[in-house]
Amino acid sequence: MSAYIARRLITMVPTIIIVAFLSFMLMRLVPGDVILAQVASGGGASGGVSSIDQQRINQIKKDLGLEGTVPQQFVRWLGGVARGDFGDSWLTHQSTLKQFTRRVRVSIQLGLMAVVLSVMIGVPLGIISALWQDTAPDYLGRVIAILGLSVPNFFLGVLMILLFSRVFHFTFPTGVNDFWNDPWVNLQQFVVPAFVLAFASAGVTMRLTRTSFLEVLRQDYIRTAHAKGLSQRLVILRHALKNAMVPVITVVGTQLTYIIGGSVVVEQLFNLRGVGSLTLTSVLQRDYVQLQTNVFLFSLVLVIGNLLTDLTYGVLDPRIRYG
């Protein structure tokens, strides 16, 4: 197992470097006149490109880490990242890392609740569908799953807002409500957005659980378990479930990409101030340093998430480790 972990850690290194390089390069795509525009917009009453002094341009270039050649910039940026210095926001002049960590709690709660909900919806539906294949419950489950894959999360969110405001006359609490201080208000704020986020990945989870269960139910050891007289219940719970869940765990891992993207949409719809909405404001206000930090940190989360998924997979299925 340790050899497997070591091997996976080593293959992670080039991925992280590529990811770091890509998030770094993304910002170098910004056309050069952006700096001029930035100077012009903040450059006092006279404005205009003509009145800009070289000094100010240099200062901005320095703030943005745009001094020197691209490889030099990359090394300097990586060095900063290693020391925890991701650069300062273009707008607020605060540390971008600090702005990220300050808001990350909201997104973590949203993401965790979404993952839990998606498993709680997707796995039972998938099992029911597989056990009653080609009957009414199966069709219903499959319809729900394919709707989950097809209905955009912003549409589901809009429908939820309409439903709650028009039918239930309910308004979502706003502001920061910490779960440990006020769990009831916090849950009122988070359950519906988390459900909206969970719906699509529940569809994926359901379909995979169903396929995997159908596959397992056809195996010899299930027939053996039946043959030696175990009850259907025991066969399902003891023999089928454990084996069928292995691929499902991987899909939960891959859903992370979707959860991060979806959190931008859902946080915007439900006025949650997490890192998703931070990313959106940074995009709309062209805060490139903040975006660079966010993209890198998101990617890092994804790379680590993939690693954990692979390791879990390796623990659960020894064939993977030696494959």
Binding site: F154, G261, Q268, L302
Partner: protein
């Protein structure tokens, strides 16, 4: 033409007619077996035709102001089937025109991604070696990126330019399809008929074009159908967030700020474009499932 049951058919019918009939009959039989896929195909065709023919079909232009009362609900009066928005623009016309953009961008991004996936993935599975290793590592890297966030940044950098976002989506979507094609190309290159072709001296080019690519075609069709749905979701989500230029409407941007502002007063402003997205993506997903069952039974039920 009467003939004894033992006699061989003397004259073959013109082959094109036979083939045409066979094709038609096969298509009909498949349609009977896969009703959901067939319905999806019909619905998608109708949506596409209406959107493409929007200048003819739509009662108004997408930017015609005050075609009727403001914020009116769906009504047959003045052909406002989907109602009107806050400046009295006809939403039915806007949904049709918006569909042109949404369908065109989704199609372009997916087609581009397939071309990149074929060029890189199939080649990688066929050539192997260092090239394959690099392909896999770079794919890992690209797939580890948070897609939607990257596209948002691209939209910011290129000043809300829609086609820059489409180009970026092409690159981001390519590795997923590329890996599936690579795996299949890896299987195909070791098939006896490819070895046979190699033995008789066929060039790599010929093997790729005549033996590998045709056998990948069913897989490509499946990948394309499923990918176009998910790409449409991504592109409309970006437009919904308002990071893509909203001056010409598409299905996503129609519920951006205006749609959200008037959500409670005029929910039809959000519901019709959203329903159009959902229906199209549902159509592509169901069609993809049906095609998967028909074209590649081994993949049945996988996600």
């Amino acid at each position: 033409m009467a003939q004894s049951p033992l006699a061989l058919p003397a004259v073959e019918q013109p082959s094109s007619v036979v083939r045409g009939q066979r094709w038609g009959r096969r298509a009909l039989r498949l349609a009977g077996k896969k009703p959901l896929g067939t319905i999806s195909l019909i619905v998608l065709t109708v949506i596409t035709v209406f959107c493409v023919l929007a200048p003819i079909v739509a009662p108004y232009a997408w930017d015609d102001l005050f075609t009727g009362p403001k914020l009116a609900g769906p009504t047959r009066e003045g052909s406002h089937y989907f109602g009107t928005d806050q400046t009295g623009r006809d939403l039915y016309s806007r949904v049709l025109y918006g569909g042109r953009i949404t369908l065109a961008t989704s199609f372009t991004a997916t087609a581009g991604a397939m071309v990149v996936a074929i060029l890189l993935g199939v080649l990688s599975g066929y050539v192997l070696g260092l090239y394959d290793l690099m392909f896999q590592r770079v794919s890992d890297g690209v797939q580890a990126l948070p897609g939607l966030v990257i596209l948002m940044v691209v939209a910011a950098v290129f000043r809300q330019n829609r086609w820059a976002v489409v180009a970026a989506l092409t690159i981001l979507a390519a590795p997923g399809a590329g890996r599936v094609l690579r795996a299949q190309a890896l299987v195909l290159r070791n098939q006896p008929y490819v070895e046979a072709a190699r033995v008789v001296g066929a060039s790599h080019m010929r093997i790729l074009l005549r033996h590998i690519l045709p056998n990948l075609a069913p897989l490509m069709i499946i990948l394309f159908t499923v990918a176009i749905g998910s790409n449409m979701l991504v592109l409309t989500a970006l437009a919904f967030l308002g990071v893509i230029d909203p001056s010409t409407p598409d299905w996503g941007s129609m519920l951006n700020t205006a749609g959200q502002q008037y959500l409670v007063v005029a929910p039809w402003m959000a519901i019709f474009p959203d329903a159009a997205i959902s229906l199209s993506v549902l159509g592509f997903n169901l069609l993809g499932d049906a095609l998967r069952d028909v074209l590649d039974p081994r993949l049945r039920g996988s996600t």
